[in-house]
Every structure is written in structure tokens, then in C-alpha cells.
Amino acid sequence: MIRFALNRLLLGVLTLFVLVSVSFALIRLAPGGPFDAERALEPEIRLRLEAHYGLDRPLWHQYLAYLGGLLRGDFGPSFQYRDHRVGELIASGLPVSMKIGAAALALAVFLGLAIGILAAWRRDRLLDRLLMGFAVLAQAIPNFVLAPLLVLVFAVGLGWLPAGGYGDGSLRHLLLPVVALALPYVAAVARLSRMALVEVLASEYILAARSRGLPEIRVLWVHALRPALVPVVAYLGPAAAAILTGSVVIEQTFSLPGIGRHFVQGALNRDYTLVLGVIVVVGGFVVFFNFLADLIAAWLDPRIRLR
């Protein structure tokens, strides 16, 4: 198990390194620079700015300098937010994204599993059809439609909740974004867990359990659920990384100060260091959660360890 874990960890670090290198190359290949604006700079000031940010040095030099900074935990200065360093921007945005993400993730896991189990238990009956119908719908509606719709109904129409903003980070402000963020994941978890459960329930050892006269509920909870969770966990690994690192659409629609916004806005602004910083963080999350999912899956199903 430890060997397995170390193996995966090493692979993860390597993945991150490749990710940073490719992203660095890609963003620097994009035409247009961070200092281009409708009001063009005086040539001398442009030179000084480029020198200040090290853009006047050869690209390989900049790349090595950036990697060196990363190893020391320094993401560099932001090109767009010149009063701030990228590390600060991430430190202020990440907790917000993670708070909303964690709530959405919890909702996705618990509500999703509950729906999935309920549907599997009542498979092919009316309740199953209704729940799965809801899940298909929830998964099909993109969040750039869902989020404004929620605002329109619950903020503008009914006036129960604010239309946006983080406020003091209270439930009132977070309810709509969390629901909008979680709903597609709730649906995905529900469908996955139902599918896996139904499959497991049809297998021979469950047949054996039933033939021993075990009650259906016990079969479901004790014997079927654990193996059925493997695909759900495999899905939740990367999904958790995506949820926790902020959704651009949700954060823009609700004007939330998370790091998801920095990704798109940073790329448009050619804020090289900010975009790379966000990539490193998101990449780190993806690697970590995949690693975690691998471990949990291995724990859930010993066959995985042997492969």
C-alpha cells in the first residue's frame, strides 16, 4: 500500500511539472502582452516595465526563474494587479472558493448518494424514474443558465436572498451559489451511484446473500454499497478538485471573490504569473484529489492495489 501511494505521489509531482512547463510555453506563445492597452505606453516606460517584470530576458531564463520562485513558494508579482503578488491573490481567493466548493461537495455527496441509493432500491419503479428524470435534467442544464435562473427567481422575483456578492460570507449570500454549483454534481453522483448499485445488486455474491435470506436493506447497505462506491469515488476525485478551486461562471454570476475569476480574467489580461499561479493551484488540487481517490478506491476494493 505504501509503495502504491509513493508511486502515485511521484507521478503526481511529475504531472505538475509537465503542466507548469506546458502552460508557461502556451501562455507566452499567445500574442499580445500584459501592457497593451488602448492608450499605448511611452516606449521608455514600456521598456522599464518589461525590465521590471523580467520580460526583457530570454524566455528560458524567465522559465527557470519562475520555476525557482515556485520552489521557494513565490508565485511572482501580478501583472494586472500591480499592488499585489500572485500569492496574495490566491491566498485571498482560494478560501472563498473552497468554502463554497466544500459546501457544494458535501451536498453533492450526501444528496447525490441518497438519491442514488433510493433510486437503486426502488429501481424501475416510479420513484426511480422521477429521481433519475430530475438527475438527467439537473445535469443537462449548464450552470450559466441555472445560476441566473436562480437569481431571477429567488432574488429578483421573490426577494428572499441577495442577487450576488459575498457579504460577510453568511449562509444568505452562499445559498444560491452553492446550490447552483452543486446541482450538476448531485445529479452525476446520483446517476453514478444508482448505476453502480444496480450492477452490483445483480452480481452473484449478492444473489448468494439474498439466498441466505438477508433482508434487502441489509444487502444494500452492508454488501452492495461498498463496491458500488468505487466508480463514485473515482468520479469525485477530479470533480472535487474542480469544485473546490472555484467555478468561473458561478463566481462571476454571483460576484464572489474566489480564484475562479482570476483564471479567465487573468488570461484575457495576459497576467502571466496569475494564470500560471491558478494553474499550479488547480493542478495541485487535481493531482492531490486523484491521489486521494486512488487511495480510497484501493481501500474500498483490494483488487485495485494488485493491479
Partner: protein, 564 residues
């Protein structure tokens, strides 16, 4: 209260169907047909602030919540660049000279000034006992350090060039002299002497720009400014959460603090216009900037009297790259310029002919009368005939149509405008326009490298001065993307810069502008107007040429709590 839209203009907003067509922006011809068929759009009347003469009754809670369409990229006055950062900075800081609600220059941090040496020096008397918002004294030496930092190339200030009239500023910006050589000196603790290269009539207006604000630095003049900036303006920043809000409270140390009515200003950066509108509807903001064109007519109906469309000093235009064919031929440029009916274009693209541009410098400047190109006096038929003849002379006709590429940065408004323009040209001339859009920074880089043929551009003035528009086309300007180079034009600008008589100066500038229009390297399409929603209880603002509305003048009138 008076409701200017509902009462003056009974025209219904466009129907849902036609609005959808506008929004799609796919068929420019159809779009123009729609425009013809429709009654004058409702937006036309929305250009004046509601006139209110009631007595001042203050609301108990003097809190203003303003939207910003982007997060201010910096609160360092020297490094900030966006209009949005400018709004916040004008609340946090004050230059030597300030503006009243109508944009007129008034004493700011300087209580008075004297002009010496025939306009070559300004001696400002700083207000006695002036303080930063943290209570520490603000002395003449602080101003000297701030001005030096503004022009030092290390600071990397995009707007450093606004201070170019100051003695040696140009050489310092270019790195030829140290910042200490700048002609700004503290004669005593409260006397600041600024020497100029030569008399510059627009100099006082330049001092209202953030580049001329005092910046409190950590230690020495090469130090970095403070993280939560300490300013000298009517408000002070007490809380900032990036991408969430900026909370400003009234600054008790401000010299005119007793005149400032607002106790608190909350700036909320909201990127999406739909999110801005939702939060205006739910009364989370009182002041919503940058309302999309396509929404305006419907919003005017939804919020009678609250949608304000106010012209300001900015021009949207097409630039023609004179350094490469086909636009190296002035006949081709003129033909396209004279055949584009900016009135129809403005109607089609902005749903109002009101903003149509006939000159490059907007007509909003009182003392300056913009010239018209020579073809302005011709009838429509004569102009089109002349345009066809010019194109024929240049070798283009039905057999060999003029092909060119019109580039714009990705955006629904730009697309609609480009489509409308190309449709108007194709209607009358043997031309084939290829529309091409690029992501903003890519577009700007290509423009700067002069790799484009015809491109969209916009200029928003930083000074109420025609020179601010025209300087961009000097042959040595870094912003001259048209590659326009005309010694007559350069000479006129040079003469205007040294002309101390204001009437003469404006006449020289008008002459320069007429060359610019006649050479047709720019095709002005329309002048900018801001579109914003302001709740009727927000008072104290007036339209002004640069569309600046510092919170210093604003207040909240007593009003019933809004019904939902």
C-alpha cells in the same frame, strides 16, 4: 419627481422580437431596415439629469453603493489605468486642483495658485494644516516626491505623459535625466512651485488626474506605496476585499469635510452586466455603470427616469492604416469616410442617432468648434457620387471591387457596429469588407504593429482639451496606429502647444483636426455616452464633459424604503 423618459417620450420600447434581432446582430441589413421602420427609439430623450428643485432633505443613512464594471487593478494613483480605478481614486485622493459637479476647475488641495513668468510657473498655496487621512501632515515636500515618482520611468506610469509640460518631465520620462531634475519645488512648507517647459493652458486640468495625486510612500521616494492607501481626499479606504468590495468612509481630516454629506461609499466590482442589473433590481446597489446598449430601451421603460445616457469626451472611430494598401491611397480613405452615414450607423448600432460623430473631437467642448470635412456640405447623392468617382480614380469599380479587412476586438457591440458599417458601404460602393475579430490584446498588438488595414478604436479624453485627441496622430506618437504622418499637422500641433492665447490655440487645433479629417485616416462614427442607472434618491451629480462623478458631491435624499 420628474420622469424625463416616460413623460417626454411616449415611444414604446422595441418589441421583444426586434430586440432579439438586435441582440443577435447577425443581419446588418435587416437591422438597418428595422431601424427605419421603427419610431424614434426611446433612448433619444434620456440625456439630461432630472431637474429637481425641491429642498434638500437628507436620508438618515448616507450610504452610497456604486457598481464598478471591473475590479480596480491598482489603487496607486500613478499606476492605476482604468476609468473604474479613477472613480475610486478621485474619492480617496485630491490633486492640487479639483472639479465641481459640472467639471469646472476649483481649488483642491491647493487653496489658490499664482501664475508667474508669463504662464511658465504655477505657485500653489497648499491648504494650511493639510493632512493625510491618517492625520499626519501633508507637506509640500510630499507633493514634490509624488510628482517625481509619477514621471520616474521605474514607476511605469501609463499616464506619465500627462505631466509632460512640467520642466524636464519629458527627459525624465525618457530616462535622460534623474527624477530629481523635475521642475517641482517646495518653496516653503506650504508653497509648491511648478515650473513648466512653456506656457500650457491645459496645465491646471492635468492636475485633476490621478497621475498628479499625492502618494504616501512607505519610506523614501523609491519605496512602495502603502497597501491600504492613505490619501488626502474626501473619503478614506477602510476595507478592501479584492473582487468583492471597497468600503470608504468619510475622511474627517479632509479640508471640506463638513460639506461632504455621504458617510460611507461602497464600491462593488461586478463584472457581468446581467449581475449588475439583478443587483440594481434587488436594491443592492444605487448606481449601476455600463448598461449594455441592447438593454437600454427596455430598462428605460422598467425604471422610468433612472436610466441616464450622458455624452462625454470620447470618440469611437475606425482607423485606417495609411502605411499599406489599399489605404495608403488617400482617395480610397476619403471615399470610405464620406460615404459612411454616421447618423444611420449610430441609429442602427446604438438605437439613437444622437451620438453620431461628424468630427473627431466631440462637440461637447464649449470653446472649441470642431471642423467639418469639405464633403460635409454636399448632399447625400453628391457625396456618394464623389466617393464612387474617387474609388474609380483609384482603380476600383464593379469589375474590381475594393477589398479590405475591418478588424475589431471580440465583443457584441463592436460586431454590431462593424456589421452595420460594412452593410452601409456595400449598399452604395463597390466594396467588399471582410470582418475579422480578435481577442483584445491580440487585436491591440496587431494594431500597434500596424498589421491591420482598417481597425476599430476608441479614445476617451483625460483632459477637456482637443489636443488630447489630436496628439495621438503626431507622427512620433506611440499611439499613432494609423501611421499618419503629415508635417503640416505636426507643425500645427507644435504651434498650438506653444500658443499662449487660448482662442488662437484652439483655432490652430481646429486647423489640425480639419487636416486629420480631410486626410481621412480616421472615420469618426459616434461620440461616447455613458449609460447608467441611478436611483432617484442619489442626488448632487451633474453631467460633465469627462463623465466624472466624485462621491464628494453626492448625497442620499430622504426616500421611502424601496418597494420590492
Amino acid at each position: 419627481m420628474v420622469s424625463p423618459i416616460a413623460s417626454r417620450d411616449p415611444a414604446p420600447p422595441p418589441t421583444a422580437v426586434s430586440r432579439r434581432f438586435f441582440a443577435l446582430g447577425a443581419f446588418a441589413l435587416l437591422l438597418i431596415a428595422c431601424e427605419r421602420a421603427q419610431p424614434p427609439p426611446a433612448l433619444d430623450s434620456v440625456n439630461a439629469p432630472p431637474e429637481r428643485a425641491e429642498p434638500i432633505v437628507l436620508a438618515a443613512e448616507q450610504v452610497l453603493r456604486r457598481s464598478l464594471s471591473i475590479e480596480p487593478e491598482s489603487l496607486d494613483p500613478h499606476r492605476a489605468e482604468s476609468l473604474q480605478a479613477g472613480h475610486v481614486l478621485r474619492d480617496l485622493f485630491e490633486g492640487l486642483v479639483a472639479e465641481d459637479p459640472a467639471g469646472k476647475l476649483i481649488p483642491g488641495a491647493a487653496s489658490s495658485w499664482e501664475v508667474e513668468d508669463g504662464g511658465r510657473a504655477y505657485v500653489s498655496r497648499l491648504r494650511p494644516g493639510a493632512r493625510w487621512s491618517d492625520g499626519t501632515p501633508l507637506r509640500a515636500a510630499d507633493w514634490v516626491r509624488s510628482f517625481r515618482r509619477a514621471v520616474a520611468p521605474e514607476t511605469g506610469a501609463r499616464y506619465a505623459a500627462l505631466l509632460r509640460p512640467i520642466l524636464h518631465a519629458e527627459a525624465i520620462i525618457a530616462g535622460r535625466l534623474p527624477p530629481e531634475a523635475l521642475g517641482v519645488h517646495a518653496s516653503s512648507e506650504d508653497l509648491l512651485r511648478i515650473e513648466l517647459e512653456r506656457p500650457t493652458p491645459s496645465f491646471l486640468a492635468r492636475l485633476t488626474h490621478p497621475i498628479a495625486f499625492p502618494v504616501r510612500l512607505k519610506r523614501d521616494e523609491h519605496g512602495e506605496p502603502l497597501r491600504i492607501p492613505v490619501g488626502n481626499g474626501p473619503f478614506m479606504l477602510v476595507e478592501r476585499v479584492l473582487n468583492s468590495h471597497l468600503r470608504l468612509l468619510k475622511n474627517p481630516h479632509y479640508h471640506a469635510a463638513e460639506e461632504v454629506r455621504l458617510q460611507e461609499v461602497l464600491y462593488l466590482p461586478i463584472e457581468r452586466s446581467q449581475a449588475t442589473l439583478a443587483r440594481y433590481r434587488t436594491n443592492e446597489i444605487d448606481w449601476a455603470d455600463e448598461i449594455p446598449v441592447t438593454e437600454a430601451a427596455a430598462l428605460a421603460a422598467e425604471f422610468p427616469g433612472e436610466l441616464l445616457v450622458l455624452p462625454y469626451l470620447g470618440t469611437y472611430y475606425f482607423g485606417l492604416n495609411a502605411s499599406r494598401p489599399p489605404f495608403s491611397d488617400p482617395r480610397v480613405r476619403r471615399a470610405l469616410a464620406m460615404s459612411l452615414d454616421s447618423r444611420r450607423l449610430s441609429s442602427a448600432a446604438l438605437f439613437t442617432p444622437r451620438q453620431a460623430a461628424y468630427s473627431f473631437v466631440p462637440p461637447t467642448l464649449e470653446a472649441y468648434s470642431s471642423p467639418r470635412p469639405s464633403w460635409a456640405g454636399l448632399s447625400d447623392e453628391e457625396r456618394l457620387a464623389l466617393a464612387r468617382r474617387l474609388l474609380a480614380e483609384a482603380g476600383y469599380g464593379e469589375q474590381r471591387p475594393l477589398r479590405f479587412e475591418l478588424r475589431f476586438n471580440t465583443g457584441e457591440d463592436h460586431r454590431r457596429i462593424a456589421l452595420a458599417a460594412s452593410a452601409l458601404w456595400r449598399e452604395h460602393l463597390p466594396v467588399q469588407v471582410e470582418l475579422h475579430h480578435e481577442e483584445f490584446r491580440v487585436f491591440l498588438e496587431n494594431r500597434r504593429r500596424r498589421a491591420t488595414e482598417m481597425f476599430r478604436a476608441g479614445w476617451v479624453a483625460d483632459l477637456p482639451d482637443p489636443a488630447d485627441f489630436l496628439e495621438n496622430f503626431r507622427s512620433d506618437s506611440p499611439r499613432n496606429d494609423t501611421a499618419f504622418s503629415d508635417p503640416r499637422f505636426d507643425r500645427l500641433l507644435e504651434e498650438a502647444a506653444t500658443e499662449s492665447d487660448e482662442t488662437r490655440r484652439l483655432a490652430l487645433l481646429a486647423e489640425a483636426e480639419s487636416i486629420l479629417l480631410e486626410e481621412a485616416v480616421v472615420i469618426p462614427l459616434f461620440h461616447y455616452a455613458s449609460r447608467r442607472l441611478i436611483r432617484p434618491w442619489v442626488r448632487g451629480w451633474q453631467p460633465n464633459p469627462l463623465d466624472r462623478h466624485p462621491s464628494r458631491w453626492l448625497w442620499i435624499s430622504a426616500h421611502p424604503s424601496p418597494a420590492r
